[in-house]
Amino acid sequence: MTKITNLYKIYNENKQNEFTALNNINLEIQEAQTIIIRGKSGSGKSTLLSIIAGLCKPTSGDIIIENENIAKLPDINISNFRNEKIGFIFQSFNLISGLNTFENVMAPLVLKKIDKNQLEKQVTQALKIANIEHKKEQKVENLSGGEKQRCAIARALVMNPSIILADEPTANLDKSNSLIFIEMLKKFKELKKTVIVATHDSLFDNLEFVDRYIDIKDAKIE
């Protein structure tokens, strides 16, 4: 379970340009739930995902994930947590250009002491789930937008994490690829992943497999 209590994120605290991105967020997400966080640009939904992923620290508050308060973990532990428990799909995919699909997907695995066969097996499995195995030798800069996202999905799945976070996953996709991504979310649910998607895309409205919609406005949950 993921439990967020009294969460605040204030940028440039005590300065003239102080900005509150998250204002007293309280949230409980059960395991294997699919959650859609909706809100306009700048409402704080991306910041919330970043904090859940441990990419940035909250100003105050607690984030308990699987009985561990990640807000208080040192870098080495939070990085390990991010590596093992979180799969993050970014709006701009954030793939490493110059490397091929396979090499991008294998990146999280190189931190683990596993043999080459095991590594190849896990990467191939993730590529299959994301339906991008046929492009594994291709340099990522030569992939289409949809293929890039499937590569990013494969990378997010390769460590078999319990939580998948997606920040504006369809912002750089056309409608058909956006629908493919939504189908992918169903697959995540079947795989019993906790999925949190931050989006303002109306394609995500009224999806029957979504467990909960959360609306954020002006840094607060409505």
Binding site: S46, I96, V110
Partner: protein, 366 residues
Amino acid sequence: MLSRNFIDYSIKLLLKDKTEYFFSFIIFTFIVFILSTVLFISDSIKYDLLSTLGNQDQIIVTNTKSGKYFPLNENHINTILQLDGVENVQGKVDGYYNFSQSSRLIHLIADDSLSDDEIIVSKDIKLLFKIFHYDKEFNFLTLDGTLTKKIKSVIASNILSSNTIFANSDVSREILQMNDEQYSYLSVYVPNDNEVEFLARKIMDIFPNTIAISKTQLQSYYRQIFYYKGGIFMILYIVAMLTFFILLKNQVSSVLTEQKKQIAILRSIGFSIKDIISLKFIQNSVIALSSYFIGVLTSYIFVFIFDAPIVKNIFLGEQMENIIFTPTVDFRMHFLIFLFTIIPFLAFIIIPSWKVAIEDISEIMK
């Protein structure tokens, strides 16, 4: 302990960005090349000097008159032989022959293994003679007339032998206008090394006009002359490293701007700050080590195979341009170059990477 997969991946990322690292690689290789070249040449010169001196007896005695060198005689030899601790004294003949056609003073050394009508010359002198059409013979011009000597053989030039002619003692005396009982210097053999300094002082006490130098004193004198490592070498090192780091600073800042995103991506998938530093350490160690070894190897080839063209003249002057550097490697000094180049290089690269790694990843990802 880093996994094999991690090391392989670090190299993969390095090779992917090889053009970005190329500049640092080239500059680093060039600096190691320059420092190693200076070191190889100075070591080689020092080695030749010290190994030649190593064959000398323990004390060299020269005589002066009015502050100028003046021949010694049998009286000096007999008196020194009387001293307790001295086992043998040999009178040696050498001096400088003025080769007026080329306005050059050539070192003439007596060697009694040669017959009266032959000489041995160094490669440099052989080439000099050739210019004046002395191919197989050479004519020494003396006050008593011309002495024609056959060139028996040519020896390789080193720092001491490059400007040398060897001839029999009688011939040498004739050319140098010395009497039969005169010697240029005396070579004194003292079996007990502990008595050398004392006996050198004793000789100077007996003959106040003489200068008695022990082999150890002579070696330290030569060491000082060619002690590039101490003074010039350190200045060269500091200038080279400062230049390198100024160039590297610009390079690092432009590469880091490109790599900021990559570091943030790696952080987002679970790389810790320590992992990023390890990754950068591996990548830059590969650059530094390959630059170091290529720099040293090319320098070795440049000095000992191609005889350091251009640089040789800076060290030795134009008259010694045909000398051959004896291959010698001072591993301690190369290890110091290794430490003083690679450690600052790694620190210079890794600290900015660490600064990027500790930044707010979510901000960079935006």
